[in-house]
């Protein structure tokens, strides 16, 4: 088990494409760190550099304090689970798992013991003599994980391991991988583009965009205090609503495109700090409430909207609504299903509102209401 340190890591491909720029972070020993971001953000490149499958253009990666930039993949003692599982098609499950151990010259009975152990953890005992082609996607995924755990490596790397599975199986494997992490207490780095996977599995999440780290934090901090507009929009589903607003001269009202909203003192002060008192106000769909729920809301702190599209999911309802010229999404409890075209009165929870710089997208801290 090991701590992995990324120090100003950069990657430029031979064709000049810059995949990762100046990435510095630490994966603590035994942690489950998730690298998340949209496709092409450099998350897989970072993982592959850790494994040794890509060269490191600048900076360094060290495991247990030892710089590994020049160490070939086979000597890094790292196991990786690939998106397409990458099982050896001509070998049985047992042979797939035994391969790395045989190459290390482990004794026959030790290899058997480790395979039996891993097969038991992953429920593969009955499948040990099957070939990959005779198994389902979920079973192959387990074999790929099994092949990693029999090695007792310093760290596990996962490259979007669940993206080829169907939705139901993905949820199941997600919790199984989390439980596996708790059981093994191993250092794991997990790459995904799915923010739900990131939020539910990670101890620490590294959000990447266009090769740059946007924020490194715990799941709840990412959700509650996103450092910039990108993170705010990426984490959370449905995504946060962004409204471009300007503080009116009275200092108490924010003007949007075709609507206005009475500000809390804190929001007014935050907007006052932006250039020309103009900022991007972020409100998560779940922080918009129907006025019936919050009857005490002052009448000027209400967004009047028209429901454009209603998506009841059973336990909850997503409502797309037009506010002035903007469209926003609200999330209600499942028992409140407004009709399409009906008028809604939405009350934002001002204690959970976010403000971002209109140009840089950086978070503008909202001072506590006093």
């Amino acid at each position: 088990m090991a701590e992995i340190i990324f120090d100003s890591v950069g990657k430029v491909y031979p064709n000049g494409q810059r995949a990762v720029t100046n990435a510095s972070f630490t994966v603590p020993d035994g942690s489950f760190t998730v690298l998340v971001g949209p496709s092409g953000c450099g998350k897989s490149t970072l993982l592959r550099m850790t494994a040794g499958l890509e060269t490191i253009s600048s900076g360094s990666i060290s495991i247990e304090g030892v710089r590994i930039n020049e160490v070939p993949p086979k000597d890094r003692d790292i196991a990786m689970v690939f998106q397409d599982y990458a099982l050896y098609p001509h070998m049985t499950v047992a042979e797939n798992m035994a391969y790395a151990l045989r190459l290390r010259g482990l004794a026959r009975d030790e290899i058997d013991r480790r395979i039996r152990n891993a097969a038991e953890i992953l429920g593969l005992t009955a499948l040990l003599n099957r070939k990959p082609a005779q198994m389902s996607g979920g079973q192959r995924q387990r074999v790929a994980v099994g092949r990693a755990i029999v090695r007792h490596p310093k760290a596990f790397l996962f490259d979007e391991p669940l993206s080829n599975l169907d939705a139901k199986l993905r949820v199941q494997m997600r919790s199984e991988l989390s439980m596996l992490h708790k059981r093994l207490k191993a250092t794991m780095i997990y790459v995904t583009h799915d923010q739900v996977e990131a939020m539910t599995m990670g101890d620490q999440i590294v959000v990447l965009n266009e090769g740059r780290i946007q924020q490194i934090d715990t799941p709840m901090n990412l959700y509650l205090r996103p450092r910039n507009r990108f993170v705010a929009g990426f984490i959370g589903s449905p995504a946060m609503n962004f409204l471009e607003m300007r503080l009116d001269e009275d200092g108490r009202t924010a003007l949007g495109r075709g609507f206005s909203l009475g500000c809390s003192d804190a929001l007014a002060r935050a907007l006052a700090r932006t250039p020309e008192k103009r900022g991007i106000v972020g409100i998560r769909p779940e922080d918009l409430h129907d006025r019936l729920e919050w009857p005490d809301a002052p009448s000027d702190r209400i967004l009047t909207a028209v429901a454009v599209n209603v998506e009841p999911l059973g336990a909850e309802v997503f409502v797309a609504a037009a506010v002035g010229e903007e469209q926003i999404t609200a999330r209600f409890r499942g028992d409140f299903i407004p009709e399409t075209g009906s008028r809604l009165e939405l009350v934002p929870d001002f204690s959970r509102i976010h403000v971002f710089h209109p140009e840089t997208g950086e978070r503008i801290e909202i001072p506590d209401e006093t």
Partner: protein, 278 residues
């Protein structure tokens, strides 16, 4: 109710089946004639009008063949063809793997250049290669027969195309599992390339077994003749022993047939069921 049974299909296209049957007869007839002639008494082989079935079956021609120099040419051919096949597989699968899976500067250009050499007919290079082998002292030797055919652009192309289909992630997984490049090649790549290898074994073995011109040019001693050369030698200047020639032809075909039957399982199965895709 109309069913799409195989019976229905057969009656649907009587002409097609008649044509196919005719083609089959045209293809098989010469082989049948060859085989039947090899077990006919000499007097019946050239009888007019021709007789298909021998009045008495005789293995006389085979007996004479076995006691002639032809028997040792079978051994020569076996040694040569097996050597060529093995070295071809080894050398070209390695080259194909490099072209398919290693990134190096000029890779595409080099490959195009190799492909371009396929346009040069073998006859053009035959004399230069002959002179080269003379300087190397390899004339009249098995090495001289095997060596020039070892690197084959067609074989490299075939292996490269197939190996491009092996997912990179499988190779990367093996590297992370601790496999060195030679081990990776031997234990992961070669087994996965079996369908391509089987195809190449069939083609190479057939081509080297039937190779006539080069074998004729380079081998000077009669004791070192390969089967096609020995077979041609049976065709005498003043007269031909047809029985012997037919028996020799039958024996010549057998190893090729054997190799095909041995390899066809992999050859036909191909990549379809190799289970690479998730």
């Amino acid at each position: 109710m109309r069913t799409d049974s195989s019976e229905g299909r057969r009656t649907d296209f009587p002409l097609l089946y008649a044509a196919a049957t005719l083609c089959l007869i045209i293809t098989v007839a010469p082989f049948a004639w060859m085989f039947l002639s090899s077990i006919k008494p000499t007097s019946e082989i050239l009888k007019m009008p021709p007789v298909w079935l021998p009045s008495t079956i005789t293995f006389e021609h085979y007996r004479r063949l076995w006691s002639s120099a032809f028997a040792s040419s079978m051994v020569n051919s076996a040694v040569v063809s097996i050597s060529i096949t093995l070295t071809t597989i080894l050398v070209n699968s390695m080259a194909g793997f490099a072209f398919a899976k290693y990134r190096f500067p000029g890779r595409e250009r080099l490959f195009t250049l190799l492909l371009a050499t396929m346009m040069i007919p073998g006859q053009v290079t035959m004399i230069p290669v002959f002179i080269l082998l003379k300087y190397l002292g390899l004339l009249n030797s098995y090495t001289g027969l095997v060596l020039p055919g070892t690197a084959s652009v067609f074989a490299i192309f075939l292996m490269r195309q197939f190996m491009m289909g092996i997912p990179d992630s499988v190779l990367e997984a093996a590297r992370l599992d601790g496999a060195s490049e030679p081990r990776l090649f031997a234990q992961i790549v070669l087994p996965l390339a079996m369908p391509a290898i089987a195809t190449l074994v069939i083609f190479t073995f057939m081509a080297s077994w039937n190779e006539f011109l080069w074998a004729l040019i380079i081998m000077l001693d009669e004791s070192k003749y390969t089967v096609p050369v020995a077979l041609a030698a049976l065709n005498g200047q003043y007269g031909t022993d047809w029985g012997l020639l037919m028996a020799g032809s039958v024996v010549t075909i057998l190893p090729v047939l054997g190799v095909f039957l041995l390899m066809q399982k992999h050859y036909i199965r191909g990549i379809a069921t190799s289970g690479l895709k998730g």
